[in-house]
Amino acid sequence: MGLDVYLNVAVAGVLTGLVYGLMALGLSVIFGVVRVVNFAHGEMMSIAMYIAVVLFSSFHLDPLVMLVPIAAVMFVFGYALQAGLINPFITRPEHSQFLLVVALAIIIVNALLIIFGPDARTVQTSYAYDSFEIGPVIVDASKTYAAAAAIVVTAALFAFFRFTLLGKAIRACADNYTGALVVGLNVNRLYALTFGLGAACVGAAGTMMTLITDVTPALGPGYTLLAFVIVITGGLGSMPGALIGGLLIGLTEALAGLLFTPSAKSMFAFGILVLVLLFRPQGILGRRLT
């Protein structure tokens, strides 16, 4: 195997990693603000994936075009979830919130199984087999589009938190819950908004993921874990950390798939998690765990 094989695989891994990063970003935003561990994250992503698949197979709507509408639908889903189910749990013990979301995750996976059956579904776009040639590297077109879209959404999210008043208010909630209440912020509404944003992120990531991989109902738990591995690796509550973690895990999985066997690739992601916990428990960009 020449060097260019490794290079090709590494580039593909980085592109997939960007989409992973967007997915993990959603989780990081929700945890950073609402302090609820969204254990249904991958399951929410599979909902978005199925929406994209159904829209494509029934109406031939390209996932790239449907990115924003699907993200909007997931926003509404996330908002309703937080406002209706999770907000009353904010003061409950951590494990109690966690189990609530686990219950939700179980219901989503199996509802998808009942509705769509266990078989894998794909999106066959007209550009599915296109590629760009850049020097010795052949880059898959679908992955490039998916990664580009992930970068755009991520940039938009960063801008939102940095430059808008609403973003500032949400950051205030994250920094100091009581303080935010004291200055008169409607924390419950901001929490719902944040959960909606996190869900929109994962919705966008899921839509893009259909360009890269097949969809089955069983994908959810795996993606949830992957998102957690990425967020812990990158650093809890750090938004750039989620992106770097995503890149790292995407790259690792791709190289592990090449050097060992593709079915064992997520083992290496868990291996990285263990290494990070051993040598840098706060994550690559995280602050010290308390």
Binding site: V37, F39, R92, E94, H95, S96, F98, L99, L100, V102, A103, L104, A105, I106, I107, V109, N110, A111, L113, I114, P118, P217, P221, L225, F228, V229, I232, L236, T261, S263, A264, S266, M267, F270, G271, L273, V274, L277, L278, P281, L289, T290
Partner: protein, 337 residues
């Protein structure tokens, strides 16, 4: 011996002891009354009651949420099964290998987490990560036949061989019943021991426990290791009862979830909660399955959705679980917390 019995029964009312004895008598007599189907359901219930109690030691007593208990059951299943199929070594000797292996695995996970302040739900995620690691690892491990699955020679039902765990469902029923009773006794002894009080202190407020001079790292480690060791026997039982092992099933996250549903529904941290929860949950799930079969409906995910809804309902409406509520009703409410 008398001191031991006093410690076991101390604080229990005559009424509670009477109810326990009556329940045990019914369970002992069950194989004569129940048909094959009901006996199999009872075995599943007791299996979940046993694993639920094992998990409860860690989460209910010491407050450490594990969502990867499948790894301990999986090690408990695979090690004796490999020893049995490859070397002809019996399950009880295999258990002697499985217990330290599971405890060591628990120690590794606990060490990684507790040393570096990975706590609460992040600890739970670490436990899942290890179980998934094991699932994928065993899927590629040739000595356990990888994803093709490991099969134990099927038992001849003509005679029961307790030493080799080959025999009729009735034998397996009594084995798991005995294990459940032993786990209940062990749980009570642990809870009433010095260590048990340390665990409760850690569960309620770890900072305060440390301030009071409890070596919290050490006692959390003991909780993980004991819970893992107890769980490993469930794996041995699983392997020799079902006779086939696939990493995809044995280490699957839904195995871990099944183990924790009973105690959550019954009442986390209570002694009888895991047992009650297993009866309630499995009883209801079997009723749902039979009702669906009667109407000719066949939906593969329906049972799991039902589990999810039960979990949701209990977490929202009865966060303490059913047992504390029921115990007050029955007038056997012992202060366990």
């Amino acid at each position: 011996m008398d001191a031991m019995i006093a410690r076991l029964t101390g604080g229990l009312s005559r009424r509670a002891l009477g109810l326990l004895a009556a329940l045990l008598a019914v369970l002992l007599a069950a194989p004569w009354i129940a048909n094959d189907y009901l006996l199999t359901v009872l075995i599943v219930i007791l299996y979940l009651a046993y694993t639920g109690q094992a998990w409860n030691i860690m989460m209910g007593f010491a407050g450490q949420l594990s969502l990867g208990h499948a790894i301990y059951a999986g090690l408990g299943a695979y090690i004796p099964a490999v020893l049995f199929t490859r070397l002809g070594i019996g399950p009880w000797v295999g258990l002697l290998a499985a217990i330290p292996a599971a405890a060591a695995c628990g120690a590794i996970i606990g060490f990684l987490a507790f040393r570096f302040g990975v706590a609460g739900v992040y600890f739970a995620i670490l436990t899942i990560a290890f179980a998934e690691f094991a699932r994928i690892g065993f899927d590629h491990l040739t000595i356990v036949n990888a994803s093709a699955g490991l099969f134990l020679p099927v038992a001849q039902l003509s005679h029961n061989d307790l030493w080799r765990l080959r025999g009729s469902p009735t034998m397996f029923y009594y084995v798991i019943l005995a294990a459940t009773v032993i786990a209940l006794i062990l749980s009570r002894l642990l809870l009433r021991s010095r260590m048990g009080y340390f665990w409760l202190a850690i569960r309620e407020d770890e900072q305060a426990a440390r301030a009071a001079g409890i070596d919290t790292f050490r006692y959390k480690m003991y909780a993980v290791m004991i819970s893992a060791a107890v769980t490993s026997f469930a794996g041995v039982f699983y392997a020799f009862f079902y006779n086939n092992l696939f990493p995809e099933q044995v280490f699957n996250i839904s195995r871990s979830i099944e183990m924790i549903l009973g105690p959550i529904i019954g009442g986390i941290g209570t002694l009888f909660g895991p047992i009650l929860g297993a009866f309630v949950l499995t009883g209801l799930a079997e009723s749902v399955t039979s009702a669906m079969a009667a109407f000719g409906v066949d939906l593969p995910g329906a049972k799991q959705i039902f589990y999810g809804l039960c979990l949701l309902l209990v977490v929202v409406a009865l966060p303490e679980g059913i047992w504390p509520w029921l115990a007050r009703r029955l007038g056997v409410g012992e202060r366990e917390r």
